[in-house]
Assembly symmetry: C5
């Protein structure tokens, strides 16, 4: 999985029919120092994540292993809202402190 920050949303009204009701979040990946990487990803949301939250994202067929995403043409899914990322060098992120 990758660590990413929710930084936007995508609206698409004309889409593959099984995607009705799916919320698309724009994510930016986070590097090992807590900075945003230039790449971004659009993922379906299974957990109700909001702007600026750090999340775990699964890609590939993993993105369809959830009741809300099964059998849909999705290749990325937000699977959890991150509380903390603890590295051997210290705390990289804490949702409570909202430092990032």
């Amino acid at each position: 999985m990758q660590i990413a920050k929710v930084c936007g949303t995508v609206v698409s009204t004309h889409k593959e029919s099984s995607l009705t009701g799916v919320k698309f979040l724009v994510l930016q990946y986070v590097d090992e120092q807590g900075n945003l990487r230039p790449e971004f990803e659009v993922a379906a949301d299974s957990v109700g994540a909001g702007i600026n939250e750090w999340v775990l994202v699964s890609r590939g067929s993993a993105a369809r292993q959830s009741p809300s995403s099964a059998n849909r043409p999705l290749d990325a899914l937000v699977i959890g809202i991150i509380d903390t990322v603890s590295m051997d060098t210290g705390l990289l992120y804490s949702k409570r402190e909202e430092e990032y």
Copy 2:
């Protein structure tokens, strides 16, 4: 999923037999500032996207989770035409304004 812009088409008459009737679009990926990235991708189209439209593209086995693509040797599928991409820093793209 990735955000991409439709910038071309590929014609192949001599192809794997299950691909008869599939339309191949050339896509260029879009970066987080709305610029085109150098990489491109060829995707099957499930939504009738046209040149210059911004689209959502799914890759991998996700590309075969649609009635028009199931059981075909496809690894990329256009799954929706994008209306808007809204970032925390403002509107990145709006189909109506056709700024991009």
Copy 3:
């Protein structure tokens, strides 16, 4: 899918038993200006592609969605010989003109 040019072949006599009879082509990916990128790929051939032809290649599980490749340990398959690649800026490639 990716656009690639056939630039070689691989021979392997000692291989996984299900691969008997599979032809392995060496492909080089093509960038959006029609130049060869440094990366290359070895793909099984389902369409009888020849040296110097431009082809469409599918990767991942897509490579096994063809009668000749199903249930074999293949992750890349040539799925079509390209006639033309048309970009919004003009014709990138035409097999007939053999310019590339």
Copy 4:
């Protein structure tokens, strides 16, 4: 598979329901000289790996081929704790020596 070093953990209380009880490790990939690469990955743990250990990590659908990970939206799994990595040029890593 990739060789990686365990360098942290991720805690997520609000997550996809099938992920209850899954431990998330932050891994940093190791290059061919034994140095840490900048990219990192979050993987589920199937073997009880601890901080600073070198591990083998499988990605993609491989990550769900274990009783503890099947049918969960996981795309990376620690599948083994590494004892030694032996290269033709000598020993790159030995858990016993704990040089890295």
Copy 5:
């Protein structure tokens, strides 16, 4: 598939139980000029490849399409020992000549 050179082995005694007996090879990818690329990969071996041999490696779910790898958490498999790689510009590799 990718062309790679076998350059080492990984030993892991504490691993996911289905992996007992699997041999892990360290591979380095080869570029289009026959030089080793910096990236490396650990793959299971289905063909008895030895140090310094050039091999074909399949990644992703393809790595589990062999009797020895099915249903195991493996994402890379050596599927063949390469005899020759012939490019349009000449012979890149020949096992018999052992030039590389």
